[in-house]
C-alpha cells in the first residue's frame, strides 16, 4: 500500500471518529479544520504544483464569503445557489486578476499577489453596499432536508464541511493527475522547457489560478455559513499568510500535506490561545523554524521516514 492511501485512510478515520465522539466544541473545531483544509489544498495547487507562491489567496476566500452573503441578503438566493454564486465570483475575480499576475514569477509574483490582496481588502473595507468595516450578516445555510441533513445543527454542518473537504480533495487530486496537472508540474520544474515543448505556459497558469480560486471561494462560502457573518477580517493579509503557513507546515505539492497542516495548525492555535494571547508570535516562530529546517513539511517528513524504513529492510 502506498503512503498516500494509508495517510488518506488515517485522515478519514480520524475525521469520522472525532466527528462521532466529539461534543459541540469538537465539532466546531472539526468544521474549522475542514474549511481550512479546502482553502489550503486550493493554495497547494498553485504553490505546490505550479510553483506560484501567492500571498494574496485570502482575496478569493473573502470574495467567496462575501459572495455568499451578498447572494443571500442582496439577491435573495437560497443556500446552494448562493454557494454557486460565491464560487463563480471568486473564479471571475481570478480570471481578471490572473491575466495580469500569471506573467510574473517568484518574488515578483509574491509581491503582486500581496498587493492585490490588500487592494481587495481596502475596497471591501470602504464599500457601503458590502457593509464596510461592519461586515454583513443574513447568511443562510443550504437546505439539505431532502437527504435528511439539517445544516443549522452544528453536527450536520460539520459533516457537510467534512464531505465537501473530501470531495474537494478528490477533485483537486483528479486535476493534479490529469494531463493538465502534469503540465503544471512541468511548468514548476522548468518553465522554459515547458515553453520550448510548446506549452502555452500563461494559459495553464491562469487555469490553475482560476481553479485554485474556485476552491478558495468554496472555503470562504463555508466560512461565511459557519459564522453566519462576514467582515473584512476574512480578507486580511494574515489570512493569506496563515494558509500559506498551513501549506508549508503540512508539505507542499501533496494535497494531503495541507490537510494535515490544517489540522495541526488549527489545534496548535487553539492550544496556544489557551495559554497566551500572543499566539501569533509563536505561530510565526513555528513557521520560520519550519521554513529554515523542514521545508518539506510534515508529509515530507513522513515520506522520508518511509523511504528510510524501506532502505533498512
Amino acid at each position: 500500500m502506498t503512503l498516500r492511501l494509508v495517510t488518506l485512510a488515517v485522515l478519514i478515520v480520524a475525521a469520522g471518529a472525532s466527528w462521532a465522539f466529539s461534543g459541540f466544541f469538537g465539532k466546531d473545531l472539526l468544521t474549522e479544520i475542514a474549511i481550512l483544509a479546502i482553502f489550503a489544498m486550493s493554495l497547494d495547487l498553485l504553490a505546490g504544483y505550479t510553483g506560484m507562491v501567492s500571498l494574496g489567496h485570502a482575496a478569493f476566500f473573502g470574495v467567496g464569503a462575501y459572495g455568499m452573503a451578498a447572494a443571500g441578503s442582496l439577491l435573495g438566493l437560497g443556500g446552494l445557489p448562493a454557494m454557486a454564486v460565491a464560487v463563480a465570483a471568486a473564479m471571475a475575480l481570478a480570471l481578471i486578476v490572473g491575466v495580469f499576475v500569471v506573467r510574473l514569477k517568484g518574488v515578483f509574483f509574491i509581491m503582486i499577489t500581496l498587493a492585490v490582496g490588500q487592494m481587495v481588502h481596502a475596497w471591501v473595507f470602504r464599500s457601503e453596499a458590502l457593509g464596510g468595516d461592519d461586515g454583513m450578516g443574513g447568511i443562510i445555510r443550504p437546505d439539505l432536508g431532502t437527504i435528511g441533513l439539517v445544516l443549522d445543527d452544528p453536527a450536520d454542518f460539520a459533516l457537510f464541511a467534512l464531505v465537501l473537504a473530501f470531495l474537494s480533495f478528490l477533485a483537486l487530486d483528479l486535476v493534479a493527475r490529469s494531463p493538465f496537472g502534469r503540465l503544471l508540474t512541468a511548468i514548476h520544474q522548468s518553465e522554459s522547457r515547458a515553453r520550448a515543448l510548446g506549452c502555452p505556459v500563461e494559459r495553464y497558469k491562469l487555469g490553475a489560478y482560476v481553479i485554485a480560486a474556485a476552491f478558495a471561494g468554496l472555503a470562504g462560502a463555508l466560512a461565511a455559513q459557519r459564522d453566519y457573518f462576514v467582515s473584512p477580517e476574512f480578507l486580511t493579509w494574515t489570512v493569506s499568510g496563515e494558509v500559506l503557513i498551513v501549506v508549508i507546515v503540512g508539505g507542499m505539492g501533496s494535497l494531503l500535506g495541507p490537510v494535515i497542516g490544517a489540522a495541526v495548525v488549527t489545534l496548535l492555535k487553539h492550544q496556544l490561545s489557551d495559554v497566551t494571547t500572543y499566539w501569533m508570535f509563536f505561530l510565526g516562530l513555528f513557521f520560520v523554524l519550519v521554513v529554515m529546517f523542514a521545508d518539506r513539511g510534515l508529509y515530507g517528513a513522513l515520506r522520508r521516514l518511509k523511504r528510510r524504513r524501506e532502505a533498512a529492510t
Binding site: V53, L55, F100, R103, L104, G106, V107, F108, I110, M111, I112, L114, A115, V116, Q118, M119, A122, W123, R126, W237, T238, G241, L244, I245, I248, Y278, W279, M280, F281, L283, G284, L285, F287, V288, V291, M292, D295
Partner: protein, 293 residues
C-alpha cells in the same frame, strides 16, 4: 477646494512630498538589497514599526525626541544585523524564496511582539520644541514638522547619492547591483556588501518609523499598509537604483495624496493599477537596470 485653488494644490503637493519622503526612506534599502541579492524583506514594514515604537519608548524615557531620532535607527539596524546573522545568512545558499517566506513569518512575530511590550492601543509622539508650530504658506497654515520630514528624506537622498556615486564603497555597491557574478569575480565580497546594505536599509526603515511617529500614530499593524506601498515603490521605480526609489516614491505619493482628496474610493485601487501597468509594460520598473532585460 479644487484644483483651481493654487494654495490648496500647493499644500497637497507638500503633503505628497512628506509621504514621498517616508516612502523613500523605506523603499531605498529594500530596493538596493533587492538589486543586489534578489531578495525582498517582507518584514521591512515591521522594522519601520519597531523603529516607531523604540522611538516612542526612548522619547518617553528621556523626554528627548532628538535622542529617539538617533537611537531608534541604530537599534533597528542592530536588529537587522541579528536577523541577518540568525536567519538570512543561514538561508543564503538556499533559494531567495525561502528567505522571503522566513521574513514573512517575522511579520507575525513582530506584530505580537509590539502588542506584548506596548499593548494594543495606539500611542502618540510629540513633535519636539521648535518643530511643533506651524508656518503660513500662501495663506494656509502648515505644520513645521511636516517640512522637517521632507527635509530628512531629501537629506538622506542627497547623502546616499554622494556615497553611491562618489565613493569607492558606492562604486562597489553599484557594481554588485549591475552584475553580481562579475563583481564577485573582481574580488568584491558580495556577502559583506549585502550585510552592510541590509543593515543600512533596516536603519533607514527605523528612521522612517520614528520620523513618521509624530505625524501618524504608533500602533500594532501600522506596518502592513506601509509595506505594500514600499513594495509598490520598489516595483514601479525599478529595483536596485536610487533614482528609481526617488521617482517611485514621488509618483506613488502624488497619486496617493491627490487620489485621497479627489476620489478616495478610487485612490487605493489606482495605486495598484499603476503597479500592475508598470509591471506589465516595463517589467524592469521605470528606471530599469542597465544590462538586464
Amino acid at each position: 477646494m479644487a484644483l483651481t485653488d493654487p494654495a490648496f494644490v500647493a499644500i497637497q503637493v507638500l503633503n505628497a512630498f512628506q509621504l514621498a519622503s517616508l516612502l523613500f526612506l523605506l523603499s531605498v534599502g529594500l530596493s538596493v538589497v533587492f538589486g543586489l541579492m534578489n531578495f525582498i524583506n517582507l518584514a521591512h514594514g515591521t522594522l519601520y514599526m519597531v523603529g516607531a515604537y523604540v522611538g516612542y519608548a526612548v522619547a518617553q524615557a528621556s523626554g528627548s525626541f532628538w535622542l529617539a531620532l538617533v537611537l531608534a535607527p541604530v537599534a533597528v539596524a542592530l536588529l537587522g544585523a541579528i536577523l541577518h546573522w540568525l536567519l538570512l545568512a543561514r538561508l543564503q545558499a538556499a533559494n531567495p524564496m525561502k528567505q522571503v517566506l522566513a521574513t514573512f513569518g517575522l511579520i507575525f512575530m513582530g506584530l505580537d511582539a509590539v502588542r506584548w511590550v506596548w499593548g494594543s492601543q495606539s500611542h502618540g509622539l510629540e513633535a519636539p520644541a521648535g518643530l511643533d508650530g506651524s508656518v503660513t504658506l500662501l495663506g494656509q497654515t502648515y505644520p513645521v514638522y511636516r517640512l522637517f520630514v521632507i527635509a530628512v528624506g531629501a537629506a538622506v537622498a542627497v547623502g546616499l547619492y554622494l556615497v553611491l556615486e562618489r565613493t569607492r564603497l558606492g562604486a562597489r555597491v553599484r557594481a554588485g547591483v549591475d552584475d553580481r557574478d562579475m563583481a564577485a569575480a573582481l574580488g568584491i565580497d558580495i556577502g559583506r556588501l549585502f550585510f552592510g546594505v541590509f543593515c543600512l536599509g533596516c536603519g533607514l526603515a527605523g528612521l522612517a518609523g520614528v520620523v513618521a511617529a509624530p505625524v501618524l500614530s504608533v500602533y500594532p499593524g501600522m506596518n502592513m499598509s506601509v509595506l505594500v506601498l514600499a513594495l509598490i515603490v520598489v516595483v514601479v521605480g525599478g529595483p536596485g537604483s536610487l533614482s528609481g526609489a526617488v521617482i517611485g516614491s514621488l509618483l506613488i505619493a502624488l497619486v496617493q495624496t491627490f487620489g485621497q482628496v479627489f476620489a478616495p474610493a478610487l485612490a487605493s485601487v489606482a495605486i495598484y493599477a499603476a503597479m500592475a501597468i508598470v509591471l506589465l509594460v516595463r517589467p524592469g520598473g521605470l528606471i530599469p537596470l542597465k544590462g538586464r532585460s
